[in-house]
């Protein structure tokens, strides 16, 4: 009933729980990766003496490169898993970040 202004790909008023579940899983995955990224780049880049509360220049540059490299590793691992038939492990495509 398009007079309600919904596009064709949008079903009627109810909630498609499968679609919501998929979105929640994707959200959990992104949150998980983000938390690991924060923790790993903290270990790699941030000194532990805590003489001051600001990121210094060296730490800031390190963090930027750390995130970039983490994304490259994510890409390589994703390609690797797909080449090994990672789809078999979950039925779906590999999540792109």
């Amino acid at each position: 009933m398009s007079f309600l202004g919904r596009g064709s790909s949008t079903p009627a008023g109810g909630v498609n729980h499968e679609r919501v579940d998929m979105a929640v899983q994707e959200l959990d995955m992104i949150t998980d990766i983000f938390n690991k990224l924060v923790s790993s780049c903290h270990t790699k880049c941030i000194g532990t003496r805590y003489a001051e509360g600001d990121l210094n220049k060296g730490e800031s540059v390190c963090v930027d490169r750390c995130v970039a490299k983490f994304f490259e590793v994510n890409k390589k691992v994703g390609e690797k898993l797909q080449s090994m038939g990672g789809a078999a492990a979950g039925g779906g495509g590999l999540p792109s970040l």
Partner: protein, 90 residues
Amino acid sequence: MDLSQMNSAEQAHMSKIIEKKQMQDFMRMYSNLVDRCFNACCNDFTSKALSGKEEQCVLNCADKFLKHSERVGARFAEHNADAMSATGQK
């Protein structure tokens, strides 16, 4: 994440779930922060009181961690945007 393919009931449902998760994320971030800064700054247990030096370390640690997270978040968003436009994903 792309919510545009959802109908309004689904979007409303997702909003509630996201709101709940944000609260959980905040709480986990908070307990991680306490644990991280405690571990980095407290190594002397000859006293149960926090020394002035330890307290300053904890405050700097919390400050720095939040700034670090913010910076990672900004870079993360940029890379995500790049990755999405590269693959033509909506």
